[in-house]
Symmetry: D2
Subunit: 333 residues, 4 copies
C-alpha cells in the first residue's frame, strides 16, 4: 500500500477511543476518516476536525482499516461487516480474543459470530509473525497484556514449575473501568480507597490469559488473578508471584528477561534492584518490567503499562502497523 491509509474508529468517545484518536492523529501514515459514537453523535471529536457519527452511518467503503472500541457482542457485528467489505479490523473488544467459542460463551455468553474465530491475538511481542499482514486481529485486554508480557520469558523457556500456581495481584487506574458514569467510578467512592473486585477467578480477562499461557505448556493450576481498583486515573500494575522450574534458578530470571526483551522497542526491563512503578509507564507506550528473586522458590515480577496505551490504544496501533506492513513502532516512539 502506498500513500496515506484511511482508517475509521468505532466507539471513539470512550477513554480508549479518545486515546486512539490522539495517537492516530499524530501517525504520519494515517488519516482518520470517521469516528463513531452514538452517545456523542454530532459533537466534535476532540483534537480533530471531525464530528462523531452514529456507528450505523459509518461508510466502510471509505476506509482501509477499522479500529473497534465497542462493547463486546456489538463489536463482533461490526467486525463481520468490515471483513465482508474487505476492510482490515483491529478489534479492541473481547469478542475475538478467545479461539474457542465455547470458552467465550462461558465468560461472555453465546458468540454472535463464531465463524470469525480464531484470529491472531494481538500481542506483538509474542505473536508478531502471525500479525504481519493479518486481515483481522484481536487486541488483548489491559490486564492480559501486563500479565502475559510479565510471564512470557519464563513461559517460552519452559521456566515455570507447571504445578505451582501463578499468582497475579493486579491494580488498575479508573480509566480502565470505562467512561460511563457509575457508582463504582464516582470520585467520592474511589478517592482514598483501594478496592479488590471480581475476586475469586471472576474477572473475564482470565479466559484470555489462560488461553495464552496454555499455548506454552500444560499448566495444571488455574490462574490466581485478583484485580484492584486504584485511586489514580491511568496506569496498571501486575504483581506476579511465580515459581521457576527446577532448571531455572531464581537469580537467573532477570538475565532471561533482559535477553528475551533486549530488542523489543516497547518493553523495558529495569536493571536488577530497581522496581517498576506505575509512573514508569503512565503516558508512555511501554511495558516496563522488573524482576526480583525473593526466595529459591519464588520470583516477584512487576509489569506495568498505561492501561489505555500498551493496554489498549497503542498496542492496537502496533498491531495495525504490522498488519499494514508499516514499521512496527510508527507513531509510537
Amino acid at each position: 500500500m502506498s500513500g496515506v491509509l484511511r482508517v475509521g474508529v468505532f466507539g471513539a468517545s470512550g477513554y480508549t477511543g479518545l486515546d486512539l484518536i490522539e495517537l492516530l492523529a499524530k501517525h504520519e501514515a494515517v488519516r482518520v476518516v470517521f469516528a463513531t459514537s452514538n452517545t456523542y453523535a454530532n459533537q466534535n471529536v476532540p483534537g480533530t476536525d471531525l464530528h462523531y457519527i452514529p456507528s450505523e452511518q459509518a461508510d466502510l467503503s471509505s476506509v482501509d482499516a477499522v479500529f473497534l472500541a465497542l462493547p463486546h457482542k456489538t463489536s463482533a457485528q461490526f467486525a463481520r461487516r468490515a471483513v465482508d467489505a474487505g476492510v482490515k479490523v483491529i478489534d479492541l473488544s473481547a469478542d475475538l480474543r478467545i479461539d474457542d467459542p465455547e470458552v467465550y460463551a462461558a465468560w461472555y455468553g453465546p458468540h454472535p459470530h463464531p465463524e470469525l474465530l480464531p484470529v491472531p491475538y494481538g500481542l506483538p511481542e509474542i505473536h508478531r509473525d502471525r500479525l504481519r499482514d493479518a486481515p483481522i486481529v484481536a487486541a488483548p485486554g489491559c490486564y492480559a497484556t501486563a500479565t502475559l508480557l510479565g510471564l512470557y520469558p519464563l513461559l517460552q523457556s519452559n521456566g515455570l514449575e507447571l504445578t505451582a500456581p501463578i499468582i497475579v495481584d493486579a491494580k488498575s487506574g479508573v480509566s480502565g473501568a470505562g467512561r460511563s458514569p457509575s457508582e463504582r467510578t464516582h470520585f467520592v467512592e474511589v478517592y482514598g480507597n483501594l478496592a479488590p473486585y471480581n475476586t475469586g477467578r471472576a474477572h473475564r480477562h482470565i479466559a484470555e490469559i489462560e488461553q495464552e499461557i496454555n499455548r506454552f505448556g500444560a499448566y495444571g493450576s488455574p490462574l490466581i488473578f485478583t484485580p484492584h481498583l486504584l485511586p489514580v486515573d491511568r496506569g496498571l500494575m501486575a504483581s506476579l508471584y511465580v515459581t521457576p522450574s527446577y532448571n531455572m534458578a531464581a537469580d537467573r530470571v532477570h538475565n532471561l528477561y533482559s535477553n528475551v526483551y533486549a530488542d523489543e522497542p516497547l518493553v523495558h526491563v529495569l536493571p536488577p534492584g530497581e522496581n517498576a512503578t506505575l509512573r514508569h509507564a503512565v503516558r508512555t507506550n511501554l511495558c516496563v518490567i522488573s524482576v526480583q528473586p525473593v526466595t529459591d522458590q519464588v520470583v516477584y515480577i512487576t509489569s506495568v503499562i498505561d492501561n489505555l496505551r500498551k493496554g489498549a490504544s497503542s498496542q492496537a496501533v502496533q498491531c495495525f502497523n504490522l498488519m499494514m506492513g508499516l514499521p512496527e513502532t510508527m507513531g509510537l516512539i
Copy 2:
C-alpha cells in the same frame, strides 16, 4: 418533651443523608426511627440496624421531627405533610430558604408550597433566636454557610463599603455534587483537575446569600460568586475579597472577627498570620476563618467548612437542637 426524641431522615442514602445518619446515631437524645431512600429501599442503612424504606412509606406519626435531605420541589411536599402532622421539620433542600416565592421561582421554578414561607434560615450564628423552638427551619446551602459566616461580622457592624462588589471565589470537594453518578463526578474527569462551574452568577446559592446579605443593608452590587470543583472528596473553601467601609480600617477586621465569634462553639477564628486551610475543617463540625488585610482597600477572608457537616448535616443537627430546646452543640462536640 422528655426522654429520647424520635426522628426520621428522608433522603438518607445521599452523602448528606449518610452523614446525618452517622451524627444522629451518636446523638444521645435522639433515636432514628426511619430512614428513607427510594433508590436503596430495603437495603441496610450503614452503621445502623435500620433498612431504607421508600419515602412514601414513612410513618410521620412515629416521629417528633424529620430531616429532609431530598431534592428541591420534592422536599417541600414532605415538609407540607410533616407540618400538617405536627412534626418538626429541618429541611436541607433549597425549598424553604428563600422568603419570597417569586425570587425562588426565578432560580428554581414555581414553588410547590409558597404558603409555608417564610421560615427561619438555619444559620444559628446569625439567626439563633429565631431558631429556638421553631417548628420548621431551612438549613442553608454549603456555599451559603461558608460565605455568610465569612461575611457576618462585617455585615452586622456595617463594616462593608456598600457600593463595592463582594467577591467570592469558592472551591468545593466532590461530595457537594451529590451521590448520583454523572460525567461531572466521574473519577477520571475530576482527578488532577480544577474546574469552575456555574460561572457568571449562575449558581443557585446566590439567591440565599444575597437575601441574607441584604438583611444587613442596601448592598448595591450583585454578589460576584464563582464556584470551582476541587479534586478532593470533602471540604469547602470560600475565599472572600471584600472592601471595608471608610470607618473600618482593614487592620481592625481581624479583631472584629475574633470578638464577634469569641463565644461561638462552632466557629473558630485563627490568629493573625495563620491561614485557614481545607484541613482545618474537614471531618469537623466547625467553620474555620482567617482574616488577612491585603491593602487599605481590600481584606482577604478565608472561610472553610466540611461541606457535608457545617455545610449540611451538622448544621441541621445544630438547628434541631435549638428547635427542640436541647443544648445547641449536643452530639456535635
Copy 3:
C-alpha cells in the same frame, strides 16, 4: 488502680504520635501529662493545652505509663529508663518486638538493651492473656498487624499447608513512611504513582511476622512479602494468598474466620462475597477482613487497617487498657 491514669507520650509529633494524642485526649480514664518532641519543642501539641518538651526533660516520676513512638534504638533507651522508674511501657518502635536479640541484630543492628527481651507482643487478638497487667509491651508494626490478623485463624487451627509459601502483597498509605520530609514522600513523587519498595524480603517487618507465624508451627517457606506505597494518606491493605492444608477445604475458611473473630470487638469479618476495601478501615480502630476462596488450592484473604490506628496508635491504647486492667476497648469504640 483508681482515678485517672497519668501517661506520657514520647515522640508525639510524628503521625503516629499525633494520632495517639488524639485518642488519649478522648480516653476517659487517661490524662496526658507530657508529650515529647525534640523537633517541635515548645510548640503547642495539637488538640491539647500541652507544649512539646524535649524527650530528655520528661519526668518519668509524673506518670503511670509511657507510650514510646520513637525511632528504634532510641526507644529502647527510654524503655529501660521507664522500667527502672517503675512506669509501664508501650513501645511502638521495633525494639522490643523480636524476642531473640540476634534476630533483632540481623535486621536492625546490635540491640541496645537485650536484657529487656522478651516482652509480650502487643497483638491482643492473639496474645491477650500475656498482655493483661504486663509491665511492658511491644506494639506490633502496621504491616505485621494486618498480615498476622489475616493469617491467625488458619495458623491457630493448623490450617495452612506448611510447605507452601505464604504470599503477602501489601499496600500502605504514605503516613506509614513517617512525617520527616524526603524525596520518597514528596507529593509530586507519590501522586498518581504506585511503587513497590523493599522488595525481595528486605522489609524489616518480615522479622516479627515470621517470629509470630512460627509460634504456630514449623513453616518451611520464608515469608514472601512485598510492600507497595499507595497514593493515599492513610490505610493499609495486606492481600494474602495462602494454601490451606489438606484437612481445611478452601470453602470452609470463611466460616473459620467468622468463628474465630466472632467475639472480637475490633476485628470484622465481612460476609462471603464482599471484599474488604481500604475505606472499611480508614479512620477506624478496626481490622476488616474478607475471605475469598479462589481455587481448591488457594484462598485470597484481604486484611485492611488504618496504619496509624489498629496499625499503631489504637492498638497501643488497646494494649494499654489490658495492661492497666481497664476495659479493653475503652476509648476505642
Copy 4:
C-alpha cells in the same frame, strides 16, 4: 547560525529543569551538551545519555546558549559568566525579571549583578519584538505568566478601570514548590487539602506582575494576589476578577480576547460559556483562557497553564527560539 545549536542547562534536576531537558531532547535544532546539578552530580540525566555535572564544571565555551534553572542570586552569577563568554542566556530565576534593582532588593535582597539589568521580559505574546535576537532574557514566573496573559488584552486596550483593584485568586499544583522535600510538600500534608499561602501581598511574583501591568498605565491599586496550593502535581489557574473601564462593556471583553489572541499559537481563548479548567493546559505548552462577564462591573477571567511548561520550560524554549532566529514554536507544537 547554522546546523544544530548547542545548549547547556544549569539546575537540570529540579522539576523545571527536568521538563526543560525533556523538551530540548525533542527539539530538532538543539543538542544538549551539558546538564548541571550539584545534588545529583554523576547520576544519569533522565531520558538522555548525559550525566549531571556540578555547575562549576560546566564549560561555557562548548555552548551557544544556556538555560538557568537555578535559585535566585546564584542564577545571576552564572548569567554574568555566560554573558562574558558570549553565550546567550535564558534565565528562569527571578534575578533578571525586575528592571529596577531597588525593587528587586525589596523582594529578594541586594541584587548580585545589577549591571545586567534591564533585560527583556520573556513573555513572547507581549514582548515578542524585544526578544528576537536578544542576548539575554528573563523567563517570567509561573503565576506571572498566567496572570499577565489573562490581563493583557484589557491592559493593551486601556480597558481596565485604573482605580479598581485587580484581584487574582491563584491556585498551583505542588511541582511549583520545587523538588526539595519539605513539610509543606509532604504527601500527607497536601493530600485532601487546599491551602492559601503568602497571603497579604507576600508572594514575590507580585513584583514582576505589577512591573508589567504598570507599563500599560498608571494603575492606582496594588495588586490583590493570593496563591493557594492545590492537591495535584501540575497545573496553575489564575482566577481574575477585573473591572473594565467605562468604555469597555463587560460583554465585549470576550470578543477583545478572541481578537488579540487570534494568531497566537500558544494561547487559546475558549468560546463564550465554556470555562477553562486545569486539564485544558496540563501537559501542554498552552495558556488557555476563558472570559465570563459577571455583572456590568466585573468580568471573571480564568487563565490556566501547566506551571512547568508555559509557566517555565516551554516558555523558556519559546524565548530561546526567538533569540536564535528559529521558528517561535519549534519543538513546542
